[in-house]
Amino acid sequence: MNITKDVINAIIDHAKREIPYEACGCLAEKDGIVSHYYELTNIDKAADHFSMDPKEQFAAIRDMRGKGLKLAGIYHSHPETPARPSEEDIRLAYDPEVSYVIVSLIEPDCSVKSFKIRNGVVTMEEINIIDHKKEPQIKIDAVKNCQGISCPMNLVYTKVELAKLRSGQVLEVILDDGAPAINVPLSASKEGHKILAKNQLTKESWSVLLEKA
């Protein structure tokens, strides 16, 4: 699951505010990145289980539709137990497509874990945190989309775009996940260009900001 750092921080914060009770809410995504969250009321007001307020839940879904978002997951907190689904969590999991995100407040630095639950079988999934704040206000002079272009032509196109810029100008290249996202910035940096930022946009794509040498 790709999730922004802002959302991760917000749900941890929410979990802390609800102590001693479990906090709960919904997560919404666009283009494969969880970028929105909805704090819902735990109507059980309990430390070991939660029930989301159905009215708030519907309101959240409606809001998502309006913003072109999709429900990506349900989150809740475990104030006194580790971040893994309890028997009750597994029993009550109704949608195999959504992620169940659990914030544990007993583990160091409030661990957040995500699971898929299908027919009572729990699979943990990787959480990839995207930090958009790392590159505040970098002025981008040109953008080249190299998605679907394999090595080495993605580097060729990157070099062509860099050749059009002046020293110090910034090129954003969108690259496929895997070898392209690793190799293109590496090769560009070997030629003296500076990697200003590298962020995963979606499961399949990365943005790399290169400052021309």
Binding site: P152, M153, L155, V156, Y157, K159, V160, A163, S187, K190, E191
Partner: protein
């Protein structure tokens, strides 16, 4: 700046990927002009690589026709080309490899009367001729016109090459002064050469031309690279401009081009 098409980006991708060449270097190649004198053992492999590299204009000079004995090493000429003019045969292959290249053919002997005008149109010259009077003629004309060139020679399993940048580096006459007496030269038909050795040398000459056009690396100036393919020994002999060089020295005695008498194998270019 030339705007390369997507097709050209694909074609030249392995050049563009090189840090030292890149887009700018490829554009220099497309804008470059190279004259190959002799469409034979040295000129043919050089022509193939220069055309493939996308050198924008390539001139090729040779008066000969393709003979079956050429095919063992003169790789631009195919069996079907026997009796065709060598320049036409070479041009056909260069155009087939790369339609970006403009090929100028000169089916003629070069001599003191026509060489200066011919080379003046080009950035760099490749000497691919087989006889010494013509090698000295190319050297003298290039030095007089200030056009850099690559000298190349092969014999049996051996090769030698040097790049001359007139006014800056040693010229062929600095070290060799004048053609050897005609009777001292192993007659062309008797010496023999391993075909691939011609390819080794011609591609070194092409590499020098590409380095020159893209301003990459250090040219093979002030040194003679010699190799013995039997042992695969390569050696670089340091040379320097000689003040008593009859052409580029302080008191030159060679001040105009002359057509020297020919060795037994005639003024045939480019073996």
């Amino acid at each position: 700046m030339i705007n390369l098409t997507d097709n050209q980006l694909d074609r030249y991708s392995r050049h563009i990927l090189l840090q030292e060449v890149g887009v700018e270097g490829q554009e220099m190649l497309l804008g470059g002009k190279i004259l190959i004198i002799g469409a034979g053992g040295l000129g043919a492999p050089a022509a193939v690589y220069l055309a493939a590299a996308g050198v924008g204009t390539i001139g090729i000079v040779d008066n000969d026709h393709v003979e079956i004995s050429n095919l063992q090493r003169q790789i631009t000429h195919f069996t079907k080309d026997i009796n065709a003019a060598k320049v036409d045969s070479a041009a056909e292959k260069m155009r087939a490899i790369n339609p970006d290249v403009k090929v100028n053919t000169y089916q003629q002997y070069i001599n003191a009367g026509n060489i200066r005008e011919l080379i003046r149109e080009y950035d760099f010259v490749i000497d691919g001729v087989d006889n010494f009077p013509t090698k000295f003629l190319i050297n003298d004309a290039c030095v007089m016109e200030g056009i850099p060139f690559s000298h190349g020679g092969i014999l049996r399993f051996d090769g030698q090459t040097m790049t001359v940048v007139p006014g800056k580096s040693a010229c062929y006459r600095c070290s060799f002064r004048q053609p050897p007496p005609p009777n001292a030269v192993p007659t062309c038909s008797q010496a023999g050469v391993l075909g691939a050795v011609a390819g080794m040398l011609g591609t070194i000459q092409a590499t020098e031309a590409l380095k020159y056009l893209t301003k990459t690396g250090e040219l093979l100036t002030d040194s003679l690279l010699t190799f013995d393919a039997k042992k695969m020994n390569f050696r670089k002999i340091n040379l320097k401009r000689q003040d008593n060089c009859p052409l580029c020295g302080g008191k030159p005695s060679v001040t105009e081009l002359i057509d020297a008498p020919q060795a037994a194998c005639g003024l045939k270019t480019a073996q």
